[in-house]
Amino acid sequence: MTAPTIFGICAALLVGIGLFGVIISPHPLRKLLAFNLIGSGVFMLLGAVARRGAAAGMGGDPVPQALLITGIVVAFSATALAVALLLRLFNETGSVTLAADARAHPDAGDT
């Protein structure tokens, strides 16, 4: 098996693991970690695509490699924003749960 195939499949599994984490983790920080796992899975697939495109004396297609650099930095910005939001939420309310939502009391007020 070639490296792109191995890591392509690894990428698919990473996305799967990340999705599982996003669904089941109750803690938002863990959801954020899971999101980063999905992200790195997607990036790894792009890396495999780049490696498959090796040609013209280059070890990989440079266009997807450049996209990867942009993508990783964007994912980092997202993480930084989410962490800041998480910490502010914690400072403000002392908890970070996403479950209690602005639910509009379905049982109250019917006439």
Binding site: M1, G47, R52
Partner: protein, 313 residues
Amino acid sequence: MIAALNIGVAALVLALALFTIVARESFAACVGFLAYGLLLTLVWVQLQGLDVALIEGAVGGGLTGVLVIGAAVRLRSTQAAADAARLGMPARMLAVLLSGGVAAAMAACVLALPDPAPTLAPQVSASMAATGVANPVTAVLLAFRAMDTLLEAIVLVLALIGVWSLAPDRVWGGRPALGYDVDPDGILAYVARILPPIGIVAGIYIFWAGADHPGGKFQGATILAAMWLLAMRAGLTDAPPVDRKWLRLALVAGPAAFFAIGLAGTVTAGAFLAYPDGYAKVLILAIEWALLPSLALTLFLLMAGAPQRMSAP
């Protein structure tokens, strides 16, 4: 042999990823994630993406890892509530089923990708002479797809504004939190004195090499930001208050220079973000030099977080 090595690396990556999800404590999961990020750099080396390996190690593993570990420490008290809200078995099985389905579909797609693979490498190689740089990734980032890089610089500034907007009103214009109590004579302060000179040299070297070899402004800027962060965490320097004029100007200087050089291209070379013949390399280097301090500052401030205290008078 190489295939076996790759499979081994892939298995380790997957095992760490799984640990990150199933670990009981958030702190342990974050440490696992940091190790995972570092391990990924090996994957990038195996995939012949040295530029990507550098950025993954610096940003994907390093900065993100530090960020989430810091958050996990501060959020320790929320662990119990999260443990109580665990999903039941049927829901977990459903999650396994669905995410497994998506992963299987994706793996099938990987195997169905066309052979020979489509690639832009020959086109990059044919057009690279016009840009004057020898690192193809830099040529893509600053010539062929310069728009993405310009937008990426804006993304970082915007994320920083988003982080700042989360400050409580009373400390607007103040400084980010210091973080820890540190011993001014301790080992951390010692390292924070001797490491930054080395780190600054290394960061600028990686940046400077980026025109022709793997490396570049993001990788370099990350190292510079990390050095500053180290000095701040060791109590040697402080983060600047967010309302300083010089700070604001330094933040926008890089993207603004990028804008200006791009717009100049409409006059001198007939298109936004085009470079006139013979000046491409000079202008690309000018953009990179302008971006480096802005990027380092933005990354540092993103790591430092929202303002939390008023500056000491």
